[in-house]
Assembly symmetry: C4
Homo-oligomer: 279 residues x 4
């Protein structure tokens, strides 16, 4: 049977690396989590000039250790899965690869500065390990509430963007170059800065009419923040009520199919709901 063809140690390795319901799997996820966070902190410290100048050697050594660990982990992930190509070209497969190579590449290519900063995207890997934490139920609840209000939020952002373009153009016509409204794109940038109540102050209207329109934009922005809030809240309230209903069951099973890598199986599942493979 197919299950047997997949040798025992590979299955074990798969369980450790891809799942989190065995002690070894949990430990692996914790170690990986810590290393990812560490590697991101390394990238940050390197970008601070005076720290990099003083401790360059230590930072590089640590980076090598992490890179080697990531390399081994990447190889292990490919070996332990049945359909390696599916993993390699999956979202997380690509991120895993990109997380691993920057240091190697920096010896081949010049201008490695940008390349090394790319390592910060290793943080994206953390989302996969989220399955470890018990927050998974809450997260999926958040997700489903946001998914349900997706179209409403899209309509809202659409209207906000059109408003920004029109108000930005108006401000460009009113204010002109002196106040910093040098072009329509800059003016739209300012409008969004104001509408979202961020308000840097690098550009600010000078004419009475411009200040009046700015005031209108602020009150508008202050008011329409109620719309996304209202949408999401209504969705959450609804979600709360239906929580016990069977249709809204939250999946807390952290297993991944060893054959096709699909996740989100029912808690009592023994076969993959996607390919029928034994879990």
């Amino acid at each position: 049977m197919e299950q047997k063809a997949h040798s025992g140690w590979k299955h074990k390795l798969h369980e450790v690396i891809y799942e989190a319901d065995t002690p070894a799997g949990k430990l692996f996820d914790i170690v990986l989590f810590v290393l990812i966070i560490l590697s991101v902190i390394l990238v940050m410290l390197e970008s601070v000039d005076h720290i990099d100048a003083e401790h360059h050697k230590i930072l590089l050594t640590l980076e090598w250790i992490i890179t080697i660990f990531f390399s081994l982990e990447y190889i292990a992930r490919i070996i332990s899965i049945k359909k390696p190509w599916k993993y390699i070209f999956s979202f997380y497969g690509i991120i895993d690869f990109v997380s691993t190579i920057p240091l190697y590449l920096s010896y081949i290519l010049a201008g490695s500065q940008v390349l090394l900063a790319v390592r910060a995207f290793r943080l994206l890997r953390v989302f996969r390990i989220l399955k470890l934490v018990k927050f998974i139920g809450e997260a999926s609840q958040l997700q489903s509430a946001l998914k349900a209000s997706r179209t409403k939020i899209a309509v809202f952002i659409y209207v906000v963007l059109i408003l920004s373009v029109i108000l930005g153009t108006l401000m460009y016509l009113i204010e002109g170059d002196e106040a910093g409204f040098t072009s329509i794109p800059t003016s739209i940038y300012w409008t969004i800065v104001t509408l979202t109540t961020v308000g840097y102050g690098d550009i600010a209207p000078q004419t009475p009419l411009g200040q009046f329109l700015a005031t209108v934009i602020m009150v508008l922005g202050y008011g329409i923040i109620a719309v996304p809030t209202g949408i999401v809240t209504a969705e959450f309230s609804r979600g709360n009520k239906g929580e016990q209903s069977p249709g809204r069951r939250i999946h807390t099973n952290t297993q991944a199919c060893p054959n096709c890598s699909v996740e989100g199986h029912r808690d009592n599942a023994t076969h993959c709901y996607n390919c029928g493979h034994l879990l």
Copy 2:
């Protein structure tokens, strides 16, 4: 019968231009949508000095192509409708006209800068094409929730404005000219900047008393944002519950009456609910 008097090709043209339930109608709307967005991007790029200097010819050529398309479309809209005057003086009729002429006018009138920026308002045309997208149901739900909380929001804005005038005057009395509070209108402008939590920082209180009052205004602004949010959210929650009730049916029919241009017909309508004309 009246329907026959309206010749066949005009009816076809009407269906293509004004409606979105035939493939040709959908295609027309998509092309129009893309051209409107393109034309607005053109306006933006022209306003950036160094881009306009380098690529003036290309921008002008593209502008001519769009203007000619809009001109043809405007004529087609007038021909294909039964009561042209009603269209010409309708909201969208005027916007369509204003979207078309700026380039022509710029050859007659001097000081065309302002005139050309007016083209950005072509973006308003996009709202009509919204009927294409499937978001129409969501949008009308948003709209009805906002409409229901209209008066409450008006009362809220009214109170916020009175508060702003009174607090702005107080700040003018406390701070005076040095800190930038040069007049009561400027002071009110600052108060709204603070109350809506935008906070540019171009004007900031200097005296201890002024800073204390500023603090009060901030906490106030931070707190009263809860009011519009509460209003809209309560309305959304209510809307959610009544969603299935027949009185709150959302119209997703994109047909427009070929006789009187009215929209929002029932999904299974065969006659215009306004003038009885066949759809």
Copy 3:
């Protein structure tokens, strides 16, 4: 009977000035509303130096017209009411008086600048005329929702203030004088500016530790805005449900008792609920 003792024209005058359910009463309120708004705009324009310099005479003439109207109105209010002293020392009685005298006083006292700006508080009179507009039902609904969540909001503001003092002190210890954190009160001012997401930028942390703590304060402020919003929204939702219940009846009767000036009578009231006087 007491009603007769109060002569007919005085009763008429009372109805016109204090109430809004006769055409004359409504007209009076509208005229008063326009004059108050006008007088506040006058104050604003006077505070703008170059406008005051150019149009001083016109502004002064208009101010005299408004002051004379307000004087006559104030006298009429005293004459037409049965218990003048009660009106004179009531909240609105004092505001009416303060709204009337600044111009007279400016001829007696020097340093009238502050005195004249006080006229902006005439705007407070507008709240009384609110009874004219049909928004009164909505306003009282807003009011009752806010009143119900009063204690919760007080607890919230209390916690926010304590947090601000403690975080402000910490920032003072971390940042010191160079970054603008010159004293603990200034530091607390900065903390509230940050916590409420206003963010002027006149003071900003410079040290890494200070920037880190600032980050924490921002995320905190970003998060706890949810609390007042949640409180008010929950209250509104509750209010919505109970809208039809008789206990939450909204008073839209704009009559005021001619004897004791109490307002808020039941819609079908014929006698004052406070003193039993005929309405």
Copy 4:
């Protein structure tokens, strides 16, 4: 019996100091509250250079009075409780101690500036006295609503932080040193400043691409504020409905067990629910 072993005057003292259901206990709490607020105001005033220079003597005298009162109170708290060590090493025990000693220490140690500012943390003591005010019910309701949405908020903050790191790194790569994005940590600081809509303006993007990404971050921040708000609101709404249910009873009993200091007893409790001691 154990109750007798605890002598009468100690029991009285315990009731006055630790509880608030006798007149003396209430008075003590009010006096303590006023003194704490006063002592914090003293710290603030001392930090303002010109006030400290002019009134140093008065401030020092007042500080001595408060310190002596706090010293006596601290001793009384230790005497009147049965298990002093439990109090001394409790959260409030440590805060009480830290609130008392700074002035004494400033005579022993040099560099007392930092030490004296520590006195501001006396404000934390205020939270204990909260049991005096009748807001206690509301506060515990707020608390339980926040506690219920704890995990959801944690997930939310987690996602926000990861987003900040990734977007901050992107901005660092795009903008570079000139615009103020000197390192990745600074860039992340800026991203959080923008995402939370604080917007100082000390750092602002200069390149078109940077401004575009900034715009995206703002709209994102403007939108995701809906998430914590939605979570907390849904929780409050649920809390409101269950208010009458016996499982959600709010404890307004301010008594503390004289034996083990545990609080939160049922309103009609006569014995401590923790150790069985008589209340």
